[in-house]
Amino acid sequence: MSAGANDGGRRRDSLLLRFARTRRGRAGLVLLGLTFLLAFLGPALAPHSPTALIGPPGSPPGTGTLLGTDFLGRDVLSRVLYGGRSVLGLSLAATAIALAFAIPIGMVAGYSRSLIDPVLMRSVDVILAFPPLLFFLLVATSFGTSRLTLIVAVALVQMPGISRIVYGAVREASVRGYVEAAVARGERTPAILRREILPNILGPLISSAGLYLTFSILLIAAVNFLNLGLQPPASNWALMISENRQILTLNPWATIVPAACICLLTVSVNLVGDAVSAELDRTSTEPEVRAPAPPATEPPPPEPPPGAGGASLLAVRDLRVRLRGGPAVIDEVSLELPRGRALGVVGESGSGKSTLALALLGYVRPGVEIAAGAVELEGEPMPLDDERRARALRGRVIAHVPQDPASSLNPSLRIGDSVADVIVEHRPDLDPVATTVELLSRVRLPSEEAFRRRFPHQLSGGQQQRVLIAMALACTPALIVLDEPTTGLDVLTQAHVLAEIEALHRDAGLALIYVSHDLAVVSQIADEIAVMYAGRIVERGPTATVLSDPQHPYTRGLVESVPDHLAPHALNGIPGVSVGVGERPRGCSFAPRCPLADARCEAEMPLLAAARDAVEVRCFRAGEARLHERVLRPPRVESARPALLSVDELCASHRGRESRPVVEGVSFVIHQGECLALAGESGSGKTTIARVIAGLHRPSAGSLTLGGERLAATAGERPREQRRRIQIVFQNPDESLNPRRLVAEQVARPARLLAGQSAAAAEQRAAALLERVRLPERVGTRLPSELSGGERQRVAVARALAADPQLLVCDEITSALDVSVQAAVVELLAELRAELDLSLLFITHNLGVVASLADRVLILSEGRVCEGGPVGEVFAAPRDRRTRELLAAAPRLAGAADSLPAG
């Protein structure tokens, strides 16, 4: 499609421009240009023929000859000018041929899971078992040494390595959501390889093309140097080095200059390649920081009066953290925390809450700096500019518990040693072993030696997080900062860890700062709450007061976004997207999303000011935003509608692990227009069921019937009409769209392929659908990387709707989203469902979302259905033990019931 090609061109251009701005990239490009000019235009500049004898052999530079003569008396300068073309030309040709063959081979091997893969990759192993030069010598000498055989030999030597890299990249890409979506809609393999996979592996390949070219140059030069390549009297730089060795003492320049030319060539290719891959690496790992605008607000007074908040445990004053030399990430943050209290910090992703959590320990991530403000702990200032002094306080006075326990423990240290390290560092007076034992039992972990000698990977996620909490407790700090400590954990584990933290706080009087995006979780633990938006605190006060009567419209939006599994109600998400660092508006950061915003809000930043009952709020229209009356969702009256999908005695297992099935004998029916939720902990088999229904996972037993017709096991075997009627949306918004294709193109594809529409009709339909999922029109011409996670999930929903399906399978589609965004997506689904008479299979671990959206629910555990029925009945009177556990673990907004209208 032409749009795709244009797009690719645009991206490459901008990459080229961007890396040309780096110092290395620029140096490389200039050098490379010079070398190419020298190699290809050199012959035109040469004063003599490369083979003409112009003087005595080996005469040094001097009269008439700039670089002297070579071992036969020919002009060195002329031979240098003639000698680049063959080396460079042969290398370019060989590299191009190698890429042209190795890419398809690697792609086919990586994508087909058949016999080709092992056979091909084993033979690659065999070839890689030789030094490349040896392999090259064997090939080159077997076929004689003409230009053509040199090219072929170099290409052959390069191919195995390249195809292995392509193979790995394809293997990685083929499990992404956008590839699976293509498989599910029944695209043919060549189309998937060309449209979905190739554009995504091309970037890294282009950046390593420089390496391959260098390698070709080295091989060709080496073989020429060894006199096994092109035969004299042809001139080339490598040959010159070897033939002029006999006159090294007479005219060293005959060796030095061609050597320098080869250096120039390879170094410049390497510089360019290195700069390109560094640029690719940067753009793929770091979100682009928009042009660093100067901070909009004037810096607050830098020197606060010392000792002002001496009574409290923690005092933060006017803290500002910014991107190095750029815009602020957090600004004007002031906090106070008395001893033994728990403060919850909540906000959407990007609100700066983690940055704040780290800054409290005087720590910032690379690229970020503390620009102003002060942090005081127990009356002592936290050294914000002195890493060594700050480190003496960390772990001893203030401790931190990180977000992702699995990656936060040193994989090569035994967990006992990890805990002991903190003790040894800060409390050399204590016995590390005895203290470790005591700490582990305090967080209710086994403390015997066998357990302490385990490595982190031998622990469950909950155990890992407990070890990290034990490390934080090691030196009995006065304050622990917990940064989303339960976010990566299973619902049940989360409940256990939360209970543990709560016990430490209540029983041991430990002061906490609990940072989370999950208002419900925070409400269970925090005495006070601080709501952050776009780097500033917008509302602060006692938890119960803030949640029952939020003063700031943003807080209100958050509260109304939290689903409640016991009192299901319509969710009111917050429209729009959180503003990024550096693009914050001049006035109130929330104004663009605020229903109450007026001219003043857009012009001025409000200050955090006292509102009522110890609540402070940063809003000109504080208090005007009242909670909506909760619209309770009435249980839907089940009218007897025909079954759409029947699943009968379904069994499935993972490839190669058939002995342990993940789904065992699951049966259920989805009626037309119904929303059925599958809920359960991770590992309960819910995602596998979704994949079986979408035709992405071959079941080991059981049958699927769609509208009376039996469904084939895989999407490829199903007729188009069946593929059209079932559509799937995946969990991870980062992977569910093809990063290299425009949004509108991706949405139009199913309409074209499955609904059989013309290109123009599909394009129109895509535009209509994007509007339908409430995305602005311009989104169509964007790449997925330019969208937020919530927007990407909407695009994925639009893409699924493009096929005009009857059943939409949603696999944890809101679990990676912020609560406010989740609310909006859930509401969107509810609307679409009513309007289009869609059936939904909604897979989630979040019981609140189940209650807000679904008619019936099935609770899964270890691959079996343990309970099922209408949502209201199951949640009100669970019969199965596992359902009761799940319900007990599901977090609920504390005090939520208070705000319910009576009755």
Partner: protein, 350 residues
């Protein structure tokens, strides 16, 4: 191997006393791996030998033609070809060669026989060359590993600052240079201009290069120039990756001193990927050795291989190719084993 000596030093636990540290390696996990990996290696080697044998067999021009010249009588050529067994089918010759190899016999030099010698066994020809190459490679590796670890970790730890800029830029330039260019340039500098070291590495038959250490200096320098640069760059990347990890951040947030963080959190975890990097560098080194030996006329496997290729001495090419492939494959096996021993997650998986 030096890599093996590195292991205990960096992996030794600090004296926390919390546990004995180190710990016995569960033999259950390592032994089956070793057996599987070794047999895989042997199969690859066998396949590689088939490949080389085929390549050598289709070489245009038999050794007889190479020795006797273009105008030799066909009858004479045929007689010598018959003596050498070149008139038999390739599979049969391969099996013969393989069974001799199994008995430790690398065969007879084709050229030697074609020149009319009664017996010209390859092994006595190749053995001193192998020793010489081993000496050159061992010295280079012994310097390569500590040097590139030191430079790579230093650059990684000070990533983005001037120390890193200097190391990385120098390394980037050196990585791009072919051995023969570096070799020729060091000859210009150390022989032509400074007259300090010999430009060729002459070794008398029956001597080892160790008798004249000065002839080793330039070849070692040449090999190091390229390999240290490439290796240090990769070690730097590995170090930076570990430095960015969540567990290093956790350690810093727990107030662990930077020295301890580097030793117990960064180095330990950067070591396992480094082993793979060293394996690749050492393999690459053997490719570089071929050229470097040719530059300095160093009497090793590489220069022997080049002359055997140009003189069509097929059995010698075959022998050297198989020896090099065996070295290559064993490096892989050893590296995989070291990684298993270094990474707790791998060695404790049942």
């Amino acid at each position: 191997m030096t890599a093996a000596n590195e292991t205990p030093r960096s992996a030794r636990p600090a004296a926390t006393g919390a546990s004995a540290g180190g710990g016995p390696v569960a033999p259950s996990a390592v032994r089956p791996f070793l057996i599987r990996r070794t047999s895989q290696g042997l199969i690859t080697l066998l396949a590689a030998s088939v490949l080389v044998f085929l390549a050598v067999s289709v070489l245009p021009g038999s050794p007889a033609a190479a020795v006797l010249g273009r105008h030799a009588k066909p009858a004479l050529l045929a007689r010598i070809d018959h003596q050498l067994g070149y008139d038999r089918p390739v599979p049969e010759r391969y099996l013969d060669w393989l069974s001799e190899l199994a008995q430790g016999d690398l065969g007879q030099s084709s050229i030697g026989l074609a020149q009319g010698k009664q017996s010209a066994p390859v092994w006595p020809l190749v053995r001193p060359r192998l020793v010489n190459t081993a000496i050159l490679a061992a010295i280079t590796i012994a310097l390569l590993i500590p040097l590139s670890l030191f430079l790579g970790v230093m650059a990684g730890v000070s990533a983005g600052r001037w120390r890193d800029q200097v190391i990385s830029t120098t390394a980037l330039i050196f990585t791009a240079l072919p051995e023969f260019v570096v070799g020729s340039l060091v000859i210009v500098v150390f022989f032509v201009w400074l007259d300090l070291l010999p430009p060729v590495s002459l070794v008398e038959p029956g001597e080892t290069p160790l008798a004249h250490p000065d002839i080793l200096v330039l070849p070692v320098l040449t090999l190091l120039g390229v390999s240290v640069a490439a290796t240090a760059r990769l070690v730097r990347v590995g170090t930076i990756e570990v430095l960015r990890s969540a567990y290093v951040e956790t350690a810093r947030l727990a107030g662990i001193s930077e020295r301890r963080v580097l030793r117990r959190y960064v180095l330990r975890n950067a070591l396992a990927p480094s082993v793979q990097i060293f394996a690749i560098s050492i393999q690459y080194l053997f490719g570089g050795v071929i050229v470097t030996e040719a530059v300095f006329g160093y009497p090793g496997l590489g220069s022997e291989l080049v002359s055997a290729v140009s003189s069509h001495d097929n059995t010698v090419v075959l022998a050297i190719a198989v020896i090099l492939a065996a070295i290559y494959i064993s490096i892989n096996v050893i590296a995989d084993l070291l990684v298993i021993l270094l990474v707790p997650k791998l060695r404790t998986q049942g």
